[in-house]
Amino acid sequence: MSKDDALGFLRHMASDPESAQQVVAEYNRLLRDLAREKGFEFTDAELTEAAEALKDASAGEVSDGALTTVVGGDAVIKHGEDEKFFLDPPHMP
């Protein structure tokens, strides 16, 4: 998987959680290839667990990203359903 593909996965996960099984299958395939390349031994169950964990973590990165969008001033900025305020940092120019 290229890094662009991986990033695509992240976005995909955030927008379409129903495709989770497809994503897990893709991660499973990637991990299997990597494990073979490295000479690591994984059981099918371990691979699936790892793929699930990667899927969850990727989805978490996207959803959490929505909470940590950088905004400025003391604004309330709308991002979809989320609203975020920002507080005056010290030493602001």
Binding site: K38, D56, S58, E61, T69, M92, P93
Partner: protein, 627 residues
């Protein structure tokens, strides 16, 4: 008109029947003997902590005291977006002060030079579009006469004996303008001004050009102000023209604020559609004043600290937090402290967490908090931290006497991402004695940090009143220091500007001045990092997930990633985890051995500030936690 309704509502709530005034209780509020006014441009999303503390202190002494949030009615008049655009003095340009200065003093030059803002060093500020300054200024100016007239009329109707103004950032000129209008209607009302803008020598210089003020109170007036008012109300002598207050030494003696006035006035304006329903977006509390670090070693750029460090007891802080969380469910509680008291997380948070407390909290912290302390904060409800990161350059942090190292700053950004904490920080550069090689190294380093939260702004250092850099400018390489020219748009020519100014300019030599290409590269790298984080869902990620058998998988979506997915054996996982803490080169070679080269090559570990440090955050699987 909306603000007129609000002003009338404020008065009407205190007038209950045909027979005149109500002394409080059901159906109305007491007519205040002391009225504290919060002028524009305090942010509308939260109440004024200082004014509310003073009001509570006056009430505890038996006086009728209320707080009039004139800033809210002005925000409703000009529109929330316009107000917010003006309220923060961008790049040292206090446009909000200019709005009201034109009402206070005649003959001031037109403040057009304050309109322009440098958007390029804050690309994520949403309202800094070109011409926004002029447009918002014009809107505010058009509304100012009506606002002053109505506010003064509301004050005159209430007929308090004393009117006090709280002036912090960009509130001085609005205070003077309201005081001038009130005095024209009711010259017998005694007018006072206090707040950060009136500390000495600023307060003295201000008093000399503010005949509409009867008294300027300098310093922390928590204990002094109620006695001044009481003496005056009881027919004693008027307070002196300028009075300097000794700060309270025991903060547990300071009254707790009551935000009901703010919430009532806000609610009235929201009901009329004048302000967003999202307000209040935070409420303020305080656990300390001053800075405990500054008592050891003052950061040389910092102009925030004025008095010695004092803090409330843990029991008092816990009680205030519990009460505020119960009274205002879900509303962020933001500490007004310069910095969180040392050891605070372990001192108070376990008790709160054990009792089931989980409430949005925000505190300014030092960047050397441990992951364990950050985790406690996260569990207690912290979503945002303000860690006092001003640079990632080791030599600049040393020159600042910051007491935190660059690798600690980066580690905090990493932990913030791992724990889903919003980390607010700014990047300062271009100081005397800075190091060109270090800047060049930083430009090479920044792409590896793209998954960590970027600074909100970046800028050359600003000289601020009371900062060691200003107070001992020559020693630190600052020459020809003088007040910022913006003050000529605010104050009459006879003003002692050097005593009233907050921001100063000067000349100094930075290595970057001789390397414009490097400076451009640095600024572009910072800008790119910031804009990458503008949209949710596109932030680069670099996280690890532990696998069976002690193995690890790392996913890397940074633009500089060598591989998107890296699988590591148990030794590799251990080596990566070893660098969660900063390590010396010798430690790295002795403990992590052969894995180091691979970790460095992938940019999972960096060699910066004489330390090797992991940049990899922790992934969050279903069975895993933020810890």
């Amino acid at each position: 008109m909306l603000s007129e309704e609000a002003a009338h509502a404020f008065v009407d709530e205190r007038l209950v029947d045909d027979e005149g005034l109500c002394a409080g209780g059901q159906g109305g509020q007491a007519i205040p003997e002391v009225l504290l006014i919060v002028p524009p441009f305090l942010k509308p999303g939260s109440p004024a902590l200082g004014a509310e503390i003073l009001a509570a202190a006056c009430r505890s002494q038996g006086m009728d005291c209320d707080v009039l949030y004139a800033n809210l009615s002005f925000a409703a008049r000009v529109g929330d977006a316009t107000y917010r655009r003006i309220m923060i003095p961008r790049h040292g340009k206090p446009l909000g002060e200019a709005v009201f200065a034109q009402e206070v003093y005649s003959g001031l030059p037109h403040p057009a030079p304050l309109f322009a803002t440098a958007t390029e060093n804050a690309p994520n500020f949403p309202w800094d579009e070109p011409a926004a300054g002029e447009r918002c200024y014009d809107i505010c100016r058009a509304q100012t006469p009506g606002f002053l007239e109505e506010t003064a009329a509301a004050v005159a109707d209430l007929a308090p004996k004393i009117v006090g103004f709280t002036a912090t950032v960009q509130q001085t000129m609005a205070s003077l303008a309201i005081a001038k209008t009130v005095k024209a209607l009711r010259p017998e009302i005694f007018t006072m001004l206090g707040g950060d803008a009136s500390r000495l020598p600023m307060g003295q210089a201000l008093a000399e050009i503010a005949p509409m003020l009867d008294c300027v109170v300098a310093g922390e007036a928590d204990l002094v102000f109620p006695h001044l008012c009481q003496d005056y109300l009881q027919g004693g002598a008027s307070p002196p023209w300028v009075i300097e207050c000794a700060p309270p030494t025991e903060l547990d003696q300071v009254a707790a604020p009551d935000y009901s006035s703010y919430l009532r006035q806000l609610g009235d304006l929201q009901a009329a559609g004048g302000l967003p329903e999202t307000y209040p977006n935070h409420l303020l509390f305080e656990s300390s004043r001053g800075c405990w670090w500054a008592d050891k070693s003052r950061c040389r750029f910092c102009g925030l600290v004025h008095a010695g460090y004092r803090r409330k007891s843990g029991a008092r802080i816990v009680a205030e937090l519990r009460a505020a969380a119960e009274r205002h469910p879900g509303v962020l509680l933001q500490a007004a402290d310069c910095v969180m008291p040392s050891g605070m997380p372990h001192e108070i948070l376990p008790e709160l967490i054990e009792d089931g407390f989980r409430h949005p909290l925000q505190w300014a912290i030092r960047p050397d908090l441990t992951p364990a302390e950050l985790l406690l904060m996260k569990k207690a409800g912290f979503a945002h931290v303000q860690p006092g990161i001003e640079s990632l350059c080791p030599s600049i942090l040393t020159a600042f006497r910051k007491g935190a190292r660059a690798h600690q700053n980066i580690a905090l950004l990493r932990e913030g991402r791992s724990m889903r904490l919003d980390v607010t920080w700014n990047f300062l550069f271009r100081i005397p004695g800075d190091d060109l090689e270090e800047y060049a190294g930083l430009v090479r380093l920044l792409p590896a940090l793209s998954h960590l939260q970027p600074p909100m702004t970046f800028s050359s250092i600003v000289l601020q009143r009371t900062s060691p850099f200003l107070e001992d400018a020559g020693r630190f390489g600052f020459h020809e220091v003088r007040p910022s020219p913006v003050y000529r748009y605010l104050y009459p020519p006879e003003t002692r500007i050097a005593d009233i100014a907050l921001d100063f300019q000067g000349r100094w030599h930075s290595a970057l001045d001789e390397a414009p290409e490097l400076r451009a590269d640095l600024e572009e790298s910072l800008r790119s990092w910031m804009t990458t984080w503008r949209d949710p869902g596109t932030h680069p990620a670099l996280f690890k997930v532990p696998l069976a058998g002690g193995r690890v998988v790392v996913q890397d979506t940074r633009p500089c990633a060598k591989e998107a997915i890296v699988l590591g054996d148990a030794k590799y996982a251990d080596a990566l985890a070893y660098f969660d803490a900063p390590r010396t080169k010798r430690q790295a070679e002795e403990v992590a051995g052969a894995a180091v080269a691979d970790l460095l090559e992938h940019g999972f570990v960096i060699d910066w500030d004489d330390r090797y440090l992991s940049l990899v955050t922790r992934g969050h699987g279903r069975s895993r936690t933020a810890a």
